[in-house]
Point group: C2
Chain length 333, copies 2
C-alpha cells in the first residue's frame, strides 16, 4: 500500500517530468490550468464519486445525486474564480442503466444550466459491482484573476464563505434515518440539504477572484483542518483559527446534541461543505466585506490569520491545538 | 432498465437542450468538439475502465494497464485527426493505493510522452469494491481538418488502417491462459499485444485528416459491425463490406482453430482493435494510398463501400447478410 500523500507525490513525479509553456499549473490545486490565449487560461477538473463511499442511494434521490455530481465539480472551478463552460459525464452501471438515470440526468443538467455550463460529452459503461460517476469540467478565467491555493502570506486574514460542518451533520442525520427532505418544515432541512444538494459558489468565486484582493483560495471539500493545511502547505505558511469565529448554523449544536457528537468535530473535520476558503491582507478586511456584500448580497466570515511557520492551529480561550490534516481521509474516512 | 441506445438518446436529450456557438459537436462522435479560437477547435474525450469488465489484473500487468488506459483515450483524439495535449487521470481503489500503482503510472506516462501529451491532473479516490480508472484527454485540431463520423456518402470506399480481430483473439488467449508476453518468440505475441497494449494511431489520424480526402472517420473500439453502423447512422447511409477484403493477421485463423472459434466473429464483432475506420471517394483510392504510404510508411486497406439506404452488410461469394450493431455490447458483451 502507498499512503495517500505518497500517492500524490508519485503522480506529481510523473506529471512534472515534462515541462511546457502550455501547462500553467498541474496537480496540486483545485483545477489544472492550461494556456488558452493571451488573456484567458483554461481550468480543468475531474472527480469520481463511488456508490457506498461518496453517496448512498438509500437516502440520496437520483435527482439530488445528479445535482450533487455536477455541483462538486463546478465547485473546483469556483475555487479558482473561473466560469465553467463544458462538462463531460461518464457513469458505470453494474447491471445496465436503471430507469432512475433519467431523474439523475434531470438534476445533473439542471445544475449545469444554473451555471451556464454545457453537457458536451456523456457515456455509460458497464460497471462490475459499483455505480461510479466521473465528471470532468472545463472552465475559463482571465489569467490575471485566477486564485491559486498558494499565495497566502503571514498576516493575511483567513476567510470562509459560510457555515461549516453542515454537510457532515447532514450525512450523520441521513445515516441515522433522521432526514426528511420532503418536509420543508423539518428542522434538519438545512443540514441535510448541505449534504445532499451542495451549491457550487461560482458567482462568489468570480467576485472574490476579480476583486484583486484575495491572495489564495480553494474550496472546502475535505474539511477545514485538511483543506487549510493544503492551502498553508502550498503557500509555505501556517494558520491560526479562532474557534469562536467559526460560522455555524443555528441548529448544528442541536443536531450534535441529539446525535451525541461534538459539533466541533463536524466543523473542523467534516468534508463536503463546498464553502470557499480564502485569504486577504488584514488591511483589506472592510473593503473585501463591502465588495462581496455589494456584488452578491452575501456575508463572509473571517476566522483567523495566516502565520509564519507551518501547521494549522485551533485557538480557544484555554487552548491552542494543532489540527493540520485531521479532516476527511479518502481511504480511512 | 434502459437499453444502451435509449440511454444515449436520453443523454443527448439533456445535452442538446442548450445551444451555443461554443459547442461545435456534442455527444455522438469520438470526441466532443468546442471552439478554441479562429483556427483551432478543442477535442474532449473521457473514458472509464472497470476492473473485471474492461481489464483483468490476472493477465494485465500494471505497466501495460497503464499504457492501455492512456492509449484507448488518445485513440479517440486520433479518430478525429487531432493532436492530444493534456490528460487528467482519476483512479478509484477499494483498499488504498497498491504498490503496483507506480508501475501503472510508468506505463501511463510513457504512452502520454510518446504522443507529446502532458499529465496535468491526477487523483486517487476511495473505491468501494472495484478498481475504476477514468481518463480525460484534451486535444486540438485545425477546425477545417477535423474528421467527424458523419460525412460518408454513397459510393465512398470504406477503409481500415490495419488487421481486425487481433484484440478479441488476444483477450480469448489471455482468458484461456495461453498468453506469454515475456517470450518474444511466442506465436500469439501479436494477438495478445493487441489486447494488452494497443497503439493509438495519432500520426496516422492526423495524416488522414490533413489529406483533405477523408470524408468520415472513427476508431474501432466496439468492433467493425457496431462502429461502422455508428458511422453509417451518423451519415444517413449504409455500407457493404467484402469479407475477402478484410485485413487479417497471419495467425488469427490458427488461434481461432485452436480455440475452436470462428475467426470472422472476432473480425467483425471483436472490439478494442483501435484501428481507424474511414471513408473516401472511390476516385481518391490511389491518391490516399500513396499519401499515407509516403507520410507514414503504412499500408491501408479498402474493405467495402458506402451505399444508399441503411444497414451494414457483410458480403461473401454466396451470401449478403446484415451485421449492423452486432459487435461488442457494453452491457451484455
Amino acid at each position: 500500500m502507498i499512503s495517500e500523500r505518497d500517492c500524490i507525490k508519485l503522480i506529481q513525479r510523473f506529471a512534472s517530468r515534462i515541462k511546457s509553456d502550455y501547462l500553467v499549473k498541474g496537480i496540486g490545486d483545485d483545477c489544472a490550468v492550461i494556456t488558452k490565449d493571451e488573456t484567458n487560461h483554461q481550468l480543468l477538473t475531474t472527480d469520481t464519486l463511488v456508490e457506498g463511499v461518496h453517496f448512498n442511494l438509500k437516502w440520496h434521490t437520483p435527482y439530488l445525486l445528479g445535482r450533487k455530481s455536477a455541483a462538486v465539480n463546478l465547485s473546483d472551478i469556483a475555487a479558482m474564480g473561473g466560469q465553467p463552460l463544458a462538462c463531460l459525464l461518464s457513469v458505470a452501471f453494474p447491471e445496465g442503466v436503471p430507469s432512475w438515470f433519467e431523474d439523475f440526468m434531470t438534476g445533473f443538467s439542471k445544475v449545469l444550466k444554473e451555471h451556464d455550463t454545457l453537457l458536451v460529452g456523456g457515456d455509460t459503461v458497464k460497471g462490475h459491482r459499483d455505480i461510479v460517476i466521473t465528471v470532468t469540467v472545463i472552465g475559463e478565467a482571465d489569467k490575471k484573476n485566477i486564485c491559486y491555493r498558494s499565495g497566502a502570506q503571514p498576516g493575511d486574514m483567513v476567510w470562509v464563505s459560510g457555515p461549516l460542518g453542515n454537510a457532515a451533520a447532514g450525512l450523520s442525520l441521513c445515516q441515522k434515518g433522521l432526514c426528511n427532505l420532503s418536509d420543508p418544515a423539518d428542522k434538519w432541512q438545512q443540514l441535510v440539504k448541505a449534504h445532499l444538494d451542495p451549491v457550487p459558489l461560482i458567482s462568489l468565486g468570480k467576485v472574490l477572484a476579480e476583486s484583486g484582493i484575495v491572495k489564495a483560495m480553494m474550496d472546502i471539500s475535505d474539511g477545514l483542518a485538511t483543506d487549510l493545511a493544503h492551502l498553508c502547505t502550498a503557500g509555505g505558511v501556517g494558520a491560526e483559527i479562532e474557534q469562536g469565529l467559526l460560522p455555524v448554523s443555528e441548529n448544528l449544536e442541536q443536531a450534535a446534541a441529539e446525535l451525541m457528537t461534538d459539533a466541533i468535530e463536524w466543523i473542523i473535520k467534516g468534508g463536503e461543505d463546498y464553502e470557499l476558503l480564502f485569504t486577504a491582507k488584514s488591511s483589506d478586511e472592510l473593503k473585501l466585506r463591502q465588495h462581496v456584500a455589494e456584488l452578491t448580497g452575501r456575508e463572509i466570515y473571517s476566522i483567523g490569520r495566516i502565520i509564519e511557520g507551518q501547521g494549522v492551529f485551533l485557538c480557544s480561550k484555554n487552548e491552542r491545538r494543532e489540527i493540520s490534516y485531521q479532516g476527511y481521509d479518502h481511504f480511512h474516512g
